[in-house]
Symmetry: C2
C-alpha cells in the first residue's frame, strides 16, 4: 500500500490568502499546504480520501492512472468542494465513480452537489457518482475499509483504517469504541491544527500527541496544520515516532 | 479600472487531469488555464466575478488588498465552488462580503453552501456573505453594474457590464435585448470554448467571433477555453481586434 499526502493544511490552506506572517511567507516548501487529502494505492486500486477544492492541482502534481473510488470523512467545504473534478476520470473510464460516506455526509453531498442527481444541467457533463452510505466495516474492490467515527466539534465524522494505516483528520476527540478499532495500527495520520490556542473542533499539537501515545502506532504523522505551525520548529520538539506530514509525503506501507 | 484575468479555462481547467494531449502537455504558459474568473479594481474597490475552485490559488498569484464584493454569473461548480475561500477577507475585514446574483443563481448558492446560513457548523468559521438578487442595473460601492442576461444551454445566466468593459462567460447565445445593453462597449471578454465541434452551451471560436463582430467592441478577448484550443495556433488565425486571453492578463481600461 502506498499513501501519498496530497494536502496537509487546514481549511484556508497555508499560506492563508493575504497573510504576511512568517509561516505564510516561509520559503520552506513544507510550510505550503494544500487542503487535507490523501491518495492511496492498495490492491492495485487507486482511491482518494476526500475531494478538496485543490483536487485538480493535487492530481496534476501527483497523477493517478485511474480513480477507483472515494472515501469521504465529512462534508466541510475544504474536504468536499473539488468533487466536480472527478469528471475527467468519468470521461476516460466511461463509468461512474463509487464513493462512501456516513449518512449525514451523504445527505450533505446530495445537497451541495444536487445537480449530479438533477436532470436540469446539460452541457459539459456532470460528475457520475454512486454514493454509498456506510455505518461499519466494508470491503470494496478487494480493499478492507474500517470507518472510524470521531468527534469534530458537534459532529461525528469518519476516519478510515485500511490494514495497518489509519487516517483521522478533523477531530477533537476519539471515542473509546473507535480507539478499540485502532488496536495494533502501525501508521497513523492524525489531525493537529496548531500548537495553541485550543480549538473547538481540532486537536492541538499537544492534544494530538497525547492521543497518539494512547493509540501507540509505530509512526504517527500530524496533519491538517494551520499557519500557526512552523514545520521545522514544531517538528523539532516532537518525540521519536511522531512527525509532521507535508504535501507530497509518500509512505510505503505493508 | 483594471481587469485581471485570474483564470481563462473551461470547467476542467487546462491541462485536464490525466490528459496527455499536445495542449495539456504544452510548455507555453498561455495553455495553462485555471477556471474562468476576473478580478476588477474600479472606483478604489476590489471585486471578483465568480469564485472558482481555484480561488485561493488565483488570489495567491494575484493578491488583492481587500475583497469588497462578488458578482456571480451562474452556479456551475467551476464558477462557484471556491466560495469558502472568501473567509480570510471576512476574518481580516471583520465584515460580511456582499454578493450579487440572479434569483436562480442565488437559490443554487443557498443550496450548495447551505451551511453559511445554518446554525449547525461551529469551528473554523463560515463565510459571511450577504447575497443580493439582481434583475437589472444597480450601483454598489459607487460602481455602476449592468447585468447582461445571456443563454447558456437551457439556462439564462448573467454577464456583467461595468462602464466600457463587458464580461460574458459561458454562453451560446446573446438575446437582442442584451445586445442593446452592449451598445458602445469598448472591451469585451467573451466565451469561446474551442475551435470545434459545436457545443450545446458554449460558443465555438468562430461563433464567438461572429458575435464579437456584431457587438463591435474595440477589443475582444476570448475566454473559457478548453484543451482543444492551442493558444498560439488559434490566435494566429484571428482577425485584428480579437485575441485569446490568458491567465494573468491585465487590462487597464478607462
Amino acid at each position: 500500500m502506498r499513501v501519498t499526502f496530497l494536502g496537509t493544511g487546514t481549511s484556508t490552506g497555508v499560506p492563508v490568502v493575504g497573510c504576511h506572517c512568517r509561516v505564510c511567507t516561509s520559503s520552506d516548501p513544507r510550510n505550503q499546504r494544500l487542503r487535507q487529502s490523501v491518495k492511496i494505492e492498495a490492491n492495485g486500486k487507486h482511491f482518494l480520501i476526500d475531494t478538496t477544492p485543490d483536487l485538480r492541482l493535487q492530481l496534476l502534481r501527483h497523477p493517478i492512472p485511474r480513480l477507483d473510488f472515494v472515501l469521504y470523512t465529512h462534508s466541510h467545504s475544504d474536504h468536499l468542494m473539488g468533487l466536480d473534478d472527478i469528471r475527467p476520470f468519468n470521461f476516460r473510464q466511461r463509468e461512474a465513480i463509487h464513493a462512501f460516506a456516513s449518512a449525514p455526509t451523504a445527505k450533505a453531498i446530495r445537497r451541495a452537489f444536487a445537480y449530479i442527481w438533477d436532470s436540469s444541467q446539460i452541457g459539459g457533463g456532470k460528475p457520475q457518482l454512486v454514493l454509498h452510505e456506510v455505518d461499519g466495516p466494508f470491503t470494496h474492490d478487494g480493499v478492507d475499509i474500517v470507518p472510524l467515527p470521531v468527534t469534530h466539534g458537534d459532529w461525528t465524522i469518519l476516519g478510515y483504517r485500511i490494514g495497518g494505516f489509519a487516517y483521522i483528520t478533523d477531530t477533537n476527540g476519539i471515542p473509546d469504541d473507535t480507539l478499540r478499532l485502532l488496536d495494533g495500527v502501525d501508521t497513523l495520520a492524525l489531525d493537529a491544527l496548531r500548537p495553541a490556542p485550543r480549538h473547538p473542533t481540532h486537536f492541538t499539537i499537544d492534544e494530538a500527541f497525547a492521543v497518539a501515545q494512547r493509540i501507540g502506532a509505530r509512526e504517527t504523522w500530524l496533519i491538517h496544520l494551520a499557519h500557526e505551525a512552523e514545520h521545522g520548529e514544531v517538528e523539532a520538539r516532537l518525540p521519536a515516532g511522531v512527525r509532521i506530514a507535508w504535501d507530497g509525503l509518500e509512505l510505503d506501507l505493508e
